[in-house]
Subunit: 426 residues, 2 copies
């Protein structure tokens, strides 16, 4: 084999990603000319493609599962990876649900007329080419592709090596449907190598990839945030606080705290730190309720004094996202003390106050500087679906472009349209 | 002098910028608690401070001008640097104009109520700490600081070394006024060293500086875009096209083209390439008009054939921002050909079609993927003031966060406020 042949069959990761990105950008300009109903129909065909390829997808998934079992992956990882007929149907239905969402492209943000007669409008347009880097769940291949296409964006998908066969089968089935609907195949591309250097090449592709969204564990997100030269939409941590104010309704406080921690402990909107006002009378009962439900509590000395089952909290507990049935508990002296704790330790995701005092509630809403600030509700509502956005690509805790649950609107940008009648600038 | 003393008096640039940034972030949390009227009043006091310090500012400016003359700076550079009583008054008035703009902080973007009763609102909040890196014009010190403070942001200012004394005097006068109005002094900080490594430290300060805005020439913007690990809001080039469609009104075409190129040639919204439809009958007269006005034309062979004074265009002319009385001219065969030229060569700033054909106009608006797309108007309107935004911090051609003229709204982000009555997630 000559050297030229080698480099042709095995391009280096930067060339590979560069070539895919250029093809994706070109495909995006064609995708951008499809109407909303055309994109919706293509996504419906993609969902049909997924259903029709059930056998191929399950066979591919079996290969991944066999390799994962051989590698000794934990049961929880195997469960994330595993597909069955029900899960494939759920993936297809989710694609149809995205198809049914209103098209964000072309939506008018505002319109003004200037004294000189110029009419200005801002309208939403696609961002361009997005990169999604994700881990073991193969459904992300379809979910992310559907959201990107709905908003007129091309996408480069880079899934985890555990799910490589499943991802390829899902991608092939989906693109087959999209192409029937007039979407160029290069609008949705799966990086064809599991070489980790391809991720580095994506992160370095400033000017070729417009935005990268990592979906996965903290180490993946941290690497992407540290290394990317491309803008990143992500959240690293969900260290969510619930502050039980002096004027909280005791029953509401118990119910909200229980739900915020224990409904599902593994999601980013789960409460990780409970702040109890020193003057809230019902704290021992609230803590007893959590302990009785099997939650491990790690408290400061005043919290520990309320129940002998409470373990001592170490300094790092206030900055830890447990994602399991463990909760840190601090007793604070009033609203300002709670705000100071949150300012020092919140990851900027979701923070909650429980109170019947409207003044305290409004102060909390005004001062807490997190993507989502709630009054009298479980932090587990921090979710695009619960917010009525239809579906979310993720939750962002950065400060620019989009914050909190990011759905179709966050996958668009805007342009200014100016309509004149020959105006020249004096 | 011991080593410790040396490092205490001359911290390395990363430590210096880190210390200033941390102080700025702390000040920002206090600034964020001021009301809109309080911030406005502080800016009015800053404007008064600028007027009161006229003598000090002029004396400082004289030092900069003397150094610049000694260094042999060009007349245009000296003019950008020079202040007089009238220019100081203009700077103070500009600060007052920003004070008079509506406060963007707290503005509601949208509000929805969910079936479960949760009420969701998105409200604008400050971004945090911004970095402004700029060149010779000392008025940017005041303009940028005023816009940042109006939107509740702290700012680190890094001006050019030519204007170091002027910038310090303007900064001192302004901060004196702001502090009287209750704004912490550290909300507006001027980097105290001209060491170029301080710029590098700002660009690397991810997590400490939330966004950097470069204001200056192309080499400054290019360096910032290439090196920054912090999000950047900027435009590198303004390669603006005007396409004269077959159905353009001849008189309007001549007037718009003349204004777009020659009103002011040095601004980013000035036309740099004229696209003439091969079937537009009045092209020779339009080109003759520009030539008669002293504009150098560089054309493709079909354009050259229209007037012997037209020079041949080289390939790089289609990608050149002249910023002077030079224009590249191409003859195109219809709308699609014009769109293809723009897709290949536009810098994504402002592109214009002149036509009486509404279908062609709407196609152009839909397909051209630039921050600003205009019909029947001079590209020189690409400006925050002309767009009714009050004042602009710059024009952005990136795709995320804010596009086109960026004013107060672009200096904010949003958070979600969720008001419940004890809802828990099923």
């Amino acid at each position: 084999m000559t050297q030229q042949e080698t480099s042709a069959t095995q391009p280096n990761p930067a060339d590979l990603v560069g070539g895919l990105a250029r093809a994706g950008r070109k495909a995006q300009t064609r995708l951008a000319r499809l109407s909303g109903p055309e994109k919706a129909q293509a996504l419906q065909l993609a969902a049909q493609g997924l259903r029709a390829a059930e056998a191929e997808i399950l066979a591919a998934n079996e290969l991944d599962l066999a390799a994962a079992r051989k590698a000794g992956l934990a049961e929880a990882m195997l469960d994330r990876l595993a597909l069955d007929a029900g899960r494939i149907e759920a993936v297809a239905s989710a694609v149809e649900a995205v198809a049914a969402l209103p098209d964000p492209v072309g939506q008018k943000i505002d319109r003004t007329q200037r004294p000189n007669g110029l009419v200005l409008e801002r309208v939403r347009v696609p961002i361009g080419l997005l990169g999604i880097i994700y881990e073991s769940r193969p459904n992300v291949t379809a979910d992310a592709a559907a959201l990107c296409v709905r908003a007129g964006n091309a996408v480069l998908l880079r899934g985890g090596s555990e799910a490589v066969h499943s991802n390829r089968a899902i991608h092939a089935a989906m693109v087959g449907g999209l192409v029937k609907g007039g979407v160029p195949a290069e609008a949705v591309q799966l990086i064809p190598t599991q070489d980790r250097a391809a991720v580095g090449a994506m992160l370095a592709a400033a000017g070729l990839i417009d935005m990268i969204i990592p979906r996965g564990g903290k180490s993946l997100v941290a690497r992407v945030q540290a290394d990317a030269r491309v803008p990143v939409l992500a959240h690293l941590d969900g260290i969510c606080h619930t502050y039980i104010h002096q004027a909280a309704d005791p029953e509401m406080a118990r119910s909200v705290a229980h739900n915020a921690k224990l409904r599902r402990t593994g999601i980013c909107g789960a409460m990780e730190t409970l702040l109890l006002d020193a003057t809230f009378p019902d704290s021992p009962a609230l803590l007893g309720d959590l302990l009785d439900a099997g939650c491990e509590l790690r408290g400061d000395p005043r919290a520990q004094a309320m129940d002998s089952r409470i373990l001592p909290a170490a300094a790092e507990d206030w900055d830890t996202e447990y994602l399991e049935a463990i909760l840190s508990v601090a007793v604070v002296d009033g609203l300002d003390d709670a705000l100071a704790h949150i300012a020092a330790h919140s990851s900027g995701h979701t923070d909650v106050i429980v109170t019947q005092d409207e003044v305290a509630a409004e102060q909390f809403l005004a001062i807490v500087d997190s993507a989502i600030v709630m009054v009298n509700a479980s932090s587990q509502f921090a979710d695009g679906g619960e917010f009525g956005l239809g579906a979310e690509i993720g939750i962002a805790t950065g400060r620019l472009h989009a914050r909190g649950p990011v759905a179709l609107e966050g996958l668009t940008t805007y342009k200014w349209l100016v309509r004149g009648t020959g105006q020249i600038r004096p």
